[in-house]
Amino acid sequence: MLLGSLLEESAQRTPDKAALVCGERRATYAELEADSNRLAHALLARALAPGERVAVCLDNSSEAVISIFGAWKAGAAALLVNPGTKGEKLRFLLEDSGASVLIAAEKKLEQSRDALRGLPALRATISTGEGQGPGTWHDALAAQPTSPLPARASQDDLACLLYTSGSTGQPKGVMHSHRSLGSATRSIVQYLGSVPEDVVLSVLPLSFGYGLSQLLPTFQVGGTLVLERSFAYPQLVLQRLASERATGFAMVPTIATMLLQNNLAKFDFSSLRYLTNAGAGIAPALLKELRARLPHVRIFPMYGQTECIRASYLPPEEVDRRPGSVGKGMPNQELWIADESGQRLPPGSTGELVVRGEHVMLGYWKQPAASALKLRPGRRPGERELHTGDLFRVDAEGWYHFVARKDDIIKTRGEKVSPREVENVLLALEGVLTAAVVGVPDALLGQAVRAFVVKRPGAEIDEKAVLRHCGKALEEFAIPKKVVFLDELPKTPNAKIDKQALLERSEAK
């Protein structure tokens, strides 16, 4: 199956159904199918060969969705770029991927004009916006037919390049095929129980695996996707959730925190069937509050990484009993934990999570060494197993609990400390809005545990109060050596807490 068929098949089944709602625009499946065929023809008119990369650097919009499907229908791969990406970084991504076409907003192209000079592979740009002249979206699509195109790719061809920042070094392009994204999509549809009646609202950028995995499952079942550009105005998103009668909403922990700062009782969320969390683990204290304030909503704490999109989910009926777990894996795959030498570990152990299945990436773009570290030979000839670099504890009943990124684990006084464990303790203290924990270099301890805390408005807690609270729940070596109060925590473009920035801040002081 090629990914273009997710749209094609829904357009055949329910052509007049609302597929996408973005701002004022409501597009039916037939309209999106027609426009993405037009764009595919336009790309072919620009001599796009199969396998070439089409960079899509757009806010959540109908153009973004049409561009992704248009690229697939043309047999190309979509390079999905966070719309907030600025000149030099954008240049790096285009250069590294060798993208032939860039689709971006008129303003973005204008602002990046200097940075985009002299890229040998880049043959064409298409600008979205009001403009109608040569090189614009309007002009590119205007003269093209809406007729479907013959398949120009095979299942194992590159479908998507998603760059991940990683904590050090240049971003790496995660390569996903039609097969891998299709497999992840089917698994998600299965465990969420997605149906055509779904109305899924997403504020996450499509360049984020978790954002893309709102689009694909919704289109597979012929549901409706409501795209918002950001969560900057929670009130607007809450109104939208209510007025569109959304049935599903995707969160990362920072969104959950902001959500809970609003009076949710004011809105009619009677249609809301589920909330999902991924991107980073959600603290049990947050889950508890969400459950209390939205008791009719099913919550799916999930785990994934760009390299396989998704690997596990906790069934909602288990959330109250084991809020610290992300479940036992999702359908159509296998997962386990392994020790340093790659040996499988029994329940009750802690080790690196290994994932096996069709949803595992092809590798990192032009990075064979980095790919070989992450993808190890599997049990079938040619098969690759994904070594996630994430440590999990599996309890006696087989439930997986995230411990830390292997790179993030703090080693202090010879003891290992999971930043997540300390963060969960901090978040359980009244008056703490958000918190992040990192290990900073320390001459005596190797690393010292440092906590960064954002207080709730009006909360009167000081370092001593925080440390006293930690002392009640943590082993002595895991108690932060220092607590730094900040007005906010630095975030990555995907709204995750930017621990690298916190570390740099610590070093600068």
Partner: protein, 82 residues
């Protein structure tokens, strides 16, 4: 530019912006221009509340009130007047 706009504009360029070459007054949407993100909105509201001693309600934290200099000026004037 009014005194009020001037103050808001200074706050945005000194506290929210990384890039000093942005024309704040000429920007139709801070969000679209990437000038402001979710934490930026909260900071901006806090600044308005402290500077003009007004109280911004949850339901007033919408782009119609906050997403450009002109909208901000009109919003603060409305709050001060009523």
């Amino acid at each position: 530019m009014s005194d009020l706009s001037q103050k808001i504009s200074e706050f945005i360029s000194s506290s929210l912006l990384l890039d000093s070459n942005v024309d704040i007054a000429g920007t139709a949407s801070f969000l679209e221009a990437g000038i402001i993100d979710s934490t930026g909105v909260l900071e901006l509201v806090q600044f308005l509340e402290e500077t003009w001693e007004i109280s911004v309600k949850d339901e007033e934290m919408v782009p119609a009130n906050l997403d450009s200099l002109a909208k901000l000026e009109a919003f603060v004037k409305r709050k001060l007047g009523g």
